[in-house]
Symmetry: C2
Subunit: 397 residues, 2 copies
């Protein structure tokens, strides 16, 4: 794989704008990747994704490996054809899901043995080699190396061991990849220990990856810790390769992380909160279920160019959510994704014309981030729902 990343504007410690070339098209950076966990960005069609300006989506190796499975993927001719998305796809390696969704895990240097969270019983072993094999079968444009993403709050020795294992797995992923034209990104770990972060960045940067990701962040640590970790790592990564911060998706974070040299983001946040009726606007997130929207005949965000705002009133969206109509989830998802994609387009334009600091300042002055408590309680609710699902499966298994 040759370097398919072109920087149009760069700075050793500041924002960058570039283009990442992939077999399925160009990705202007910085970029946000909507998440298509099971081969569909929840509630929207491929045409709607194209229409709102998404240039790349992220899909989950772990989920697609378990269901529909590799045999179906082979017959379909890969994930692009299966999900009818002809744009670029990045696939994660499955490491994060194996460690957060499964139970009865057995972690060793060989890989992670686990039981499926879907059928609650079947046993599997995810190794670095299998992670690559799955992603080659999926035919994604960008593959991720298998990493061990430790939970936030582990002690130094535990994080150090996980980080070193991640390094050994990174080498095995590189050794296993075939010449398929797919890019392969390495993942820096190291938890919130600056020394481990830097060691990991140096080690991973020394391997011939096509891009470099920061993993193990946005898993519960305070935001200043996330930002500090980026500052520790970014200067150690090759300047001419894309840098991807995994799992970050809130508007205020984009500015802070782009400022520190990040090029790529993904998160379920904009789509998940949309399905709960939380709508992004330039002033912050609004709850469409709030009674004040009941008679609002204008769009939820005046001036927004998304399909939802061009077509329907806030009152209609409020009504759909109150009635739990399926169309509600789609319309809110389209709006939130368009909001995020457009914001990233604005950020990129500002980087190119030198006005990034001004845009950052004016956006953040107006935008009221979701209250940390609200955000934490939403995350808590979701994690409890996941736990309930898992218990139900265990009970059945």
């Amino acid at each position: 794989m040759t370097n398919a990343f072109t920087l149009l504007k760069t700075s050793p410690t500041g924002p960058r704008a570039g283009v990442l070339r992939t077999p399925h098209g160009d990705v202007p950076t910085p970029v946000f990747m909507p998440v298509a966990t099971q081969g569909t960005v929840k509630a929207v069609s491929p045409e709607e994704l194209k229409g709102l300006g998404a240039s790349i989506v992220l899909s989950n190796t772990y989920h697609l490996y378990l269901r529909p499975g590799l045999e179906v993927m082979r017959r379909a001719g890969g994930l692009h054809r299966f999900m009818a998305w002809d744009g670029p796809i990045l696939t994660d390696s499955g490491g994060f899901q194996v460690l957060s969704l499964t139970f009865l895990r057995r972690l060793s240097d060989e890989g992670v043995g686990f039981r499926s969270h879907i059928d609650g019983g079947s046993e599997h072993m995810l190794t670095p080699e299998l992670a690559i094999e799955i992603q080659e079968t999926l035919g994604s444009d960008i593959m991720m190396a298998l990493d061990e993403c430790p939970a936030f709050g582990g002690d130094f020795e535990a994080i150090k061991a996980a980080t070193e294992r991640t390094h050994r797995w990174a080498e095995r992923c590189l050794a296993r990849r075939r010449n398929t034209g797919q890019a392969l990104f390495g993942i820096v770990q190291g938890g919130t220990f600056p020394e481990l972060r830097r060691d990991s960045a140096r080690f991973i940067a020394g391997l011939p990856f096509d891009g470099y990701a920061l993993g193990g962040l946005s898993v519960g640590e305070p935001k200043p810790v996330t930002y500090a970790a980026i500052e520790q790592c970014a200067p150690l990564l090759p300047e001419d390769r894309p840098r991807y911060l995994m799992g970050v998706g809130s508007p205020e974070d984009f500015f802070e992380c782009v400022s520190r040299g990040i090029d790529m983001f993904d998160s379920v946040l904009p789509t998940r909160v949309a399905r709960n009726g939380a709508i992004f606007t330039t002033e912050g997130r609004e709850d469409i279920g709030n009674a004040r929207f009941k008679e609002m005949m204008g769009p939820i965000e005046p001036g927004c160019d998304c399909y939802t705002c061009r077509t329907f009133s806030a009152a209609y969206l409020h009504h759909l959510f109150r009635c739990q109509e399926l169309l509600a989830y789609r319309l809110a998802t389209i709006h939130n994704l368009r909001f995020i994609v457009r914001l990233m387009q604005d950020i990129r334009r500002a980087i190119l014309d030198g006005s990034f600091d001004g845009l950052k300042e004016s956006f953040l002055r107006r935008y009221r981030p979701a209250d940390a408590e609200v955000a934490a309680s939403q995350k808590q609710k979701w994690m409890e729902a996941q736990k309930r699902k898992r218990s139900a499966l265990e009970a059945e298994g």
Copy 2:
């Protein structure tokens, strides 16, 4: 209201093809009307409805009156603008829903007093006059008179009383309507008693309605009874006005009822079964959840021109249903509605070119109707779910 119905081909006791002109466009008949209960055809957008060839939708007076309510409808400028559908809309009168969804009903000549099934508490009184006022506020193209739709299995005297009340209410609806350019259809009742059906058809036909509906059918009676009721009524209705059979939506029924002179149909069947994964094909309904679709890389119905079949494999739709992904419900709904709309287009073309009997014969020879037991058990499941919802509300109230 002048007669806006033009028959292009007719027969006193056989199939007819025509065009119904409305303020929001022409409706070629025979026609199937997808149901937009709460101002949205579940899971699809207005553009998708247009794209699959729907020429008119049906919305529910009862639901929209309770939520979002008339004040919102007035501010929105009517239902068309509220739901962003610029084609024709027929609204039912609310009578059927009041009698099937609410509890603590008090039925009198004045109207139906009931408690909302939504907030479980608020009290309302639906009168013929209010039914018209609501529908004028909604601004539908076709309004329905308020009727009393008795449950299947009532005795002669009970059905007779309900039918006579329906007649008195029909006159009050006509007296109350204003000159809004909206059509108003009367409803024939009479249960399954041929004599009452004929009396009702004669009475309603004698009133100056713009169209005539058969109500109180498809509520649990055997199909031959439904067909017989049509045969009893159709010859008594004015030939130059549209005839609408309420609540019928299965492919085999279209042929049988069009054969007997019906022009318009509505039913939640195609959309409701779609959300359960039941897919219409020319050979009958298929369950997309069946394992035999897991690796089927062709469309669910080869040759189908719907968005779903043109874009995705049966295997992908199977996967989405297995994962309970929101996109599944949309894709199945689009297919089923397109199947029904296209079938009705084929029927109309066949009537016009004189080949209806051949089409009917060849379709019914191939098409395997949903097993009566399957259909009954599906209906039963749905009714039980409704009952559970209602009990939950009563418990809260």
